[in-house]
């Protein structure tokens, strides 16, 4: 068991965004998280990464209670690609990939306070290449296309081999070819033993890569099935209810 969420509650003013949510995720699985707009999918995952603080409930990750800040969750091996990608548009691609994880220059075995631009540019470039993206890492993130920005956000998340990768609507802004790339990437992450939670409106994507489908509605989990035990039509019907 990699992640265990129990009894999570979250209010925004009068909105009950999460209403007693419990969810367990096994290591190495791909979970598809679905539900209508406003169901609470993003909020649930933000509680896991520390981007939001739940009012109530517990989250255990990899056997440890999770800290409550993004810093703690990244340390623990959780990465999330947020729906808006969280890029600093006026900084270059390398700076964005390494944000919060900058390489420092070492001299005679000692760490200096100076960033190692050369090393970061090289590994940033290499990482972008493994994602089959064609991006000049010295360009400002704001000058990139949607698909390229997505690749930069993915590169940041994969930089330090996370244990859990959460992707919030990663294909929403992409074309068909780029969607295929993302789905292939998720498959290869699964092969490497990385656990993935994929939030998506595109049920077809989820059926292609997920092992399990979890459905939320009004802040509650209303359905939780293995992909092999359900079908696209069934899930679509449940969503329409």
């Amino acid at each position: 068991m990699l992640l265990r969420i129990e009894g999570l509650h979250k209010h925004y003013g009068g909105v009950h965004a999460l209403d007693d949510v419990s969810l367990s995720v096994d290591t190495g699985t791909v979970i598809g998280l679905v539900g209508d707009n406003g169901a609470g999918k993003s909020t649930l995952m933000k509680c896991v990464t520390g981007a939001e603080k739940p009012d109530h409930g517990s989250i255990v990750f990899d056997g440890q209670p999770i800290g409550l800040t993004p810093f703690d969750s990244r340390q623990a091996g959780i990465e999330m690609i947020y729906q808006d990608l969280d890029l600093c548009l006026r900084q270059d691609v390398t700076a964005n990939i390494f944000l919060g994880r900058e390489d420092l220059v070492h001299l005679w075995g000692m760490q200096t306070p100076f960033m190692n631009h050369k090393a970061m540019n090289e590994s940033g470039r290499a990482l972008i290449q493994t994602l089959n993206a064609d991006i000049d890492v010295s360009k400002e993130a704001g000058s990139l296309s949607g698909g390229q920005r997505q690749a930069v956000a993915i590169a940041r998340a994969l930089l330090h081999h996370p244990k859990l990768l959460v992707m919030d609507e990663p294909t929403a802004a992409l074309g068909v070819r780029e969607i295929t790339k993302v789905l292939n990437l998720i498959r290869s992450l699964k092969d490497q033993g990385i656990t993935v939670i994929l939030i998506s409106h595109r049920l077809s994507d989820i059926f292609e890569v997920a092992d399990r489908i979890v459905m939320m509605r009004h802040g509650k989990i209303v359905d939780d099935n293995a992909v092999s035990e359900t079908s696209l039509t069934k899930v679509t019907q449940r969503l329409m209810m």
Binding site: F71, Q75, D86, C88, R90, L99, G100, E102
Partner: protein, 309 residues
């Protein structure tokens, strides 16, 4: 950015050409040193402002912090066995604590404009209280040396200025501190979600801005021979103007130490030139105000242009 800095440099030269045409004194070695010394004070504040504005913030309190830190430092180190060390440390600590308070408040969602405006008034008031409203005399010789001394014919403030320019340039471009400041200004949510501790960073950032103000205060009191509770009045405005002329964008995410320094030089040459052609200081304030507004307008236009390209 490079081309912009080049443009600024050309602008500075043009301004110098105009000034030397209008005044015989302008293009003399002593006046040149005068300008450099004056630009050291404004330049230190402008460098601080480039970090702060680059982070999407604003620090209006630096002029007051100059006064507060120097008044407190002199009041409490008159009979010290190590007057220089004690003055220096007190100066830096007072300004760093006051700046840290700014950063703390801003981290708790108080707008930077309000937090530092409050500190502007609070610190100025404290400076007046600690000095009974009068300049404090009796500076240690070592502080006078900082403000007035010369080494190989060049004023000491110029050396200090150069050292701090280099330090801050490296800090901005080559350390996490500088990079996180810009990242916060660029997209604070992204920075937070990437694990940067925003509240902690803001405390250090505003403390840093305060410490630069403290050094500016040291140079200033050394030059005028007294810790003046009215020192640095309106300097924040000149410094912010210099920073914005220097290409630091008000919307955050971009900053340049070299640009801030060039901006400070331009402001100093402007003030020096206006003084030499006998424009009264009241009019100089008008000029600073106009330059600030024009610089911001130009920055917006430039930003808009960059975005549409």
């Amino acid at each position: 950015m490079r081309t912009y800095l080049g443009l600024m440099f050309v602008g500075l030269l043009l301004l110098c050409a105009v000034c030397s045409f209008l005044s015989d004194v302008f293009l003399t070695w002593p006046n040149f040193l005068n300008i450099l010394t004056a630009s050291a004070t404004i330049g230190l504040l402008a460098i601080g402002a480039s970090f702060i504005i680059g982070s999407g913030g604003l620090d209006l309190s630096v002029g007051s912090l100059m006064a507060l830190s120097s008044v407190v430092a002199i009041q409490f180190s008159t009979h010290s066995p190590f007057p220089f060390l004690q003055t220096l440390c007190l100066c830096l600590v007072v300004a760093a604590v006051a700046g840290g308070v700014n950063g703390f408040l801003i981290g708790r969602k108080i707008p930077a404009f309000i937090a530092t405006l409050g500190m502007l008034s609070l610190a100025r008031g404290l400076a007046l209280i600690f000095s009974n409203g009068r300049p404090v005399y009796g500076l240690p010789d070592s502080i006078l040396f900082l403000g007035q001394g010369r080494v190989i014919g060049i004023p000491v403030p110029v050396f200090i200025f150069l050292g701090i320019i280099l330090f801050c340039h490296v800090l901005l471009r080559h350390t996490k501190f500088g990079r996180y400041s810009l990242m916060i200004g660029d997209n604070v949510n992204a920075a937070r979600n990437a694990g940067i501790r925003i509240q902690r960073h803001l405390i250090w950032l505003y403390a840093f801005s305060g410490m630069l103000a403290a050094v500016a205060g040291l140079l200033f009191m050394g030059r005028v021979n007294a810790a003046d509770p009215n020192a640095g009045m309106m300097y924040e405005l000149t410094a912010i103007t210099a920073t914005i002329i220097g290409g630091t964008s008000l919307s955050g995410g971009k900053a340049s130490v070299i640009g801030a320094v060039l901006g400070a030089l331009i402001m100093s040459v402007l003030q020096n030139g206006l003084t030499l052609v006998n424009v009264p200081s009241y009019y100089q304030q008008v000029a600073v105000g106009i330059v600030l507004i024009v610089a911001v307008a130009f920055g917006q236009w430039r930003g808009g242009h960059a975005a549409t390209n």
